[in-house]
């Protein structure tokens, strides 16, 4: 396994503010009955105040696992964080005692999940579940916590918040439930919000409303937003920067406009080509060939090489840049753009 990505220069972020969260060479393994699964293999990024970083990748690319590692909610065992640092406001969360880590969850870093119906406890009212944040972290009384819950529900634009505060999750529509999740996550004004596929379970019109809400709330609070998704459209609309993940590592990073406009990694390029184009009628979509990598047996060299149309090996390859043998480090290709491909310049066409 290469450690190349640990020496990556700091983010090419457009995010204006100071860095709040810094993830450095994060590695996560799962011990399963059939052996070790390398879910995250040296991921590094920073998130600044007011920045929206999209982490893009297919299922099994390690995007959710890395987020759960940051939250400290991985099930250990079977998961194990084997190396790396997660520095939040100057402190490495991985070296903090559990009780200190717990105090960061909620007021410091907060998270919303994909399926709000299963992520909310069915047997407690939404007001109770939102209010728990205040009761656990600030020792607020039950009654006062409920008042805070009403205010938060109004803030995420849930109609008739006062009447609905005692309702249960199953009594809300999908979009409203996701708003409840957002209200809960934002209760204590976190500096970082991790949104793990926040709109995947919603229909398209509701998706847009929820994303708009998140953007508005981010503008109000200046929090950093980590948006984990496989939805290219959502990334395009709301994110400043994007990190594309493949087989547990970041393969390309830059501003959304640049990465989407002119990919520097063949995988990103493949993703862009697989988007249906409105202008091109009747044409066929171009899926990326082959299968997603098996994380228990990640291919040698560049993990993407078995599916890569541009791979070079043997005599075709430049010395030390054999796609089958040499792991490409995540490197600066052009200013503001990093990619983990031996031949990024060619992909980029510079």
């Amino acid at each position: 396994m290469s450690t190349a990505s640990s020496s990556v220069p700091t983010s090419p972020a457009r995010g204006a503010g100071t860095p709040i969260l810094e993830v450095d060479d994060l590695r996560v393994q799962f011990r399963t009955g059939s052996g070790l699964v390398n879910a995250v293999n040296g991921v590094s990024y920073t998130v600044s105040e007011g920045e929206t970083l999209a982490i893009l990748g297919e299922s099994g690319s390690g995007k959710s696992v890395s987020a759960q590692a940051i939250m400290g909610i991985l099930d250990t065992p079977p998961a194990e964080i084997t190396s790396g640092r997660i520095v939040f406001e100057g402190r490495d969360l991985l070296t903090l005692p559990e009780e200190e880590q717990r105090k960061v969850r909620g007021p410091g870093i907060s998270m919303i999940f994909q399926d709000a119906l299963s992520a909310l406890n069915p047997v407690y009212s939404v007001g109770f579940q939102i209010g728990e944040m205040f009761r656990a972290h600030r020792g607020t009384s039950r009654k006062e916590a409920k008042q805070h819950a009403v205010e938060l529900m109004e803030r995420v634009r849930i109609p008739a918040a006062k009447e609905r505060v005692n309702d249960y999750p199953h009594q809300f529509s999908g979009g409203m439930r996701q708003r409840v999740m957002i209200a809960m996550a934002l209760a204590l004004d976190p500096r970082i919000l991790i949104a793990d596929e926040p709109t995947t379970a919603l229909d398209v019109t509701v998706q847009a409303q929820v994303m708009d809400l998140l953007k508005d709330l981010q503008r109000d609070t200046g929090m950093g937003l980590i948006l984990i998704t496989h939805d290219l459209g959502v990334v395009n609309e709301v994110a400043d920067n994007v990190a594309v993940m493949y087989a547990g590592r970041i393969v390309e990073r830059g501003t959304v406009d640049e990465v989407f406009g002119n990919p520097a990694h063949p995988y990103t390029d493949g993703l862009m080509r697989s988007i249906p184009q409105v202008e091109v009628k009747g044409g066929r979509l171009q899926p990326i060939g082959g299968q997603p990598p098996n994380l228990a047996a990640i291919p040698s060299g560049c993990p993407f090489h078995p599916r890569c149309p541009k791979r070079r090996t043997g005599a075709q390859a430049a010395p030390g840049r054999d796609c089958v043998a040499d792991v490409p480090p995540l490197r600066l290709v052009v200013p503001g753009r990093q990619a983990a491909c031996h031949y990024s310049e060619e992909v980029l066409g510079v």
Binding site: M71, G72, R105, F113, P122, M133, Y168
Partner: protein, 307 residues
């Protein structure tokens, strides 16, 4: 909810009628003549036999006996046994013993069973989980009769901690028989809780609770245990109904004059009125506790609504 409960109570009427008739018929079908058996070795005078037989309507066909019995019952008369003792007296004398025994047994089931289940479930495959697995398997595989004698011998006789038999020391007399009676169900409750907790620990909302930075105690008690209790409540509810019916083996071994032994004795003496009276009451108790369980569901899980 109120209407639901009322409807459930109305539904008990046909059940009680059916159950009492069935029991009545079964006692009727027993071989032998209960009146002649009253005399034991010395035969009763034919005139006495004839008078008693007539007094207890034993010459009538089954259906008529049953109707006459029901008529008395509707006027609040549970009847008497062949010796002239009021059945209602037997019940009021025996029932408190059984209730005390059941309460102690249920308390053990809830306290030990649920706590052991939670501790095993939150660290699945851990050391304590294996301890619970082995000990519950052991308990379940020993017959209650053997378990009772072991308990009597160890805790009663050798250690002298508990009385071996009788009810002379109040609640204290019920601790040992209660534990023995609860043992099997206790093991089952522990297993059930353990499985349910282990499963719910992986639920998305438990992950959310952890992501909210809740203290571990809240994550487990508030967000895991409560959701895991539904199958456990079902089992315990049904078990209360069963325990209220008395435990013939436990009551006999520990010499407790409970309702279980009263029924057993009455069946042997073919005391129809006693058997039917007590068993019908027990059927009602059983139905009642099942209703309590159903209502508890709605309290534990707001998604369940009865309308």
């Amino acid at each position: 909810m109120g209407r639901y409960i009322a409807r459930r109570f109305l539904l008990t009427i046909p059940v009680l009628l059916g159950a009492s008739f069935l029991i009545f018929a079964l006692v009727y079908a027993l071989p032998g003549d209960p009146i002649r058996a009253l005399g034991g070795d010395r035969p009763l005078a034919p005139a006495v036999v004839a008078q008693l037989t007539d007094e207890f309507n034993l010459n009538d066909p089954l259906w008529l006996q049953y109707v006459k019995y029901l008529g008395d019952l509707l006027q609040g008369d549970f009847g008497t046994d062949f010796r002239g003792r009021e059945v209602i007296d037997t019940i009021s004398q025996r029932m408190p013993v059984t209730v005390q025994l059941a309460v102690v047994a249920i308390a053990f089931e809830i306290l030990i069973g649920i706590v052991a289940g939670v501790l095993a479930g939150i660290r699945k495959n851990g050391f304590f989980d294996n301890v619970v697995l082995v000990s519950t398997t052991l308990i379940v595989s020993i017959p209650i009769l053997v378990l009772a004698f072991i308990a009597q011998f160890t805790f009663g006789l050798q250690l002298g901690l508990f009385p071996i038999a009788g009810v002379n020391e109040g609640w204290y007399s019920f601790l040992l028989p209660g534990l023995v009676l609860a043992a099997g169900s206790l093991a089952y409750v522990a297993r059930l809780t353990r499985t349910s907790i282990a499963e719910n620990m992986r639920a998305d909302y438990v992950r959310t609770a952890r992501a909210k930075g809740l203290p571990r105690r809240d994550v487990i008690v508030r967000h895991t245990l409560r959701n895991s209790l539904i199958p456990v409540v079902t089992f315990i509810g049904a078990d209360i109904g069963t325990l209220m019916g008395g435990a013939i083996v436990t009551e006999t071994v520990f010499n407790l004059p409970g309702i279980g032994r009263a029924v057993f004795d009455a069946v042997r003496a073919q005391e129809g009125a006693v058997v039917v009276g007590i068993v019908t009451l027990l059927v009602f108790v059983f139905i009642f506790f099942n209703l309590v369980v159903d209502v508890l569901y709605a309290v534990l899980d707001p998604r369940i609504r009865y309308e």
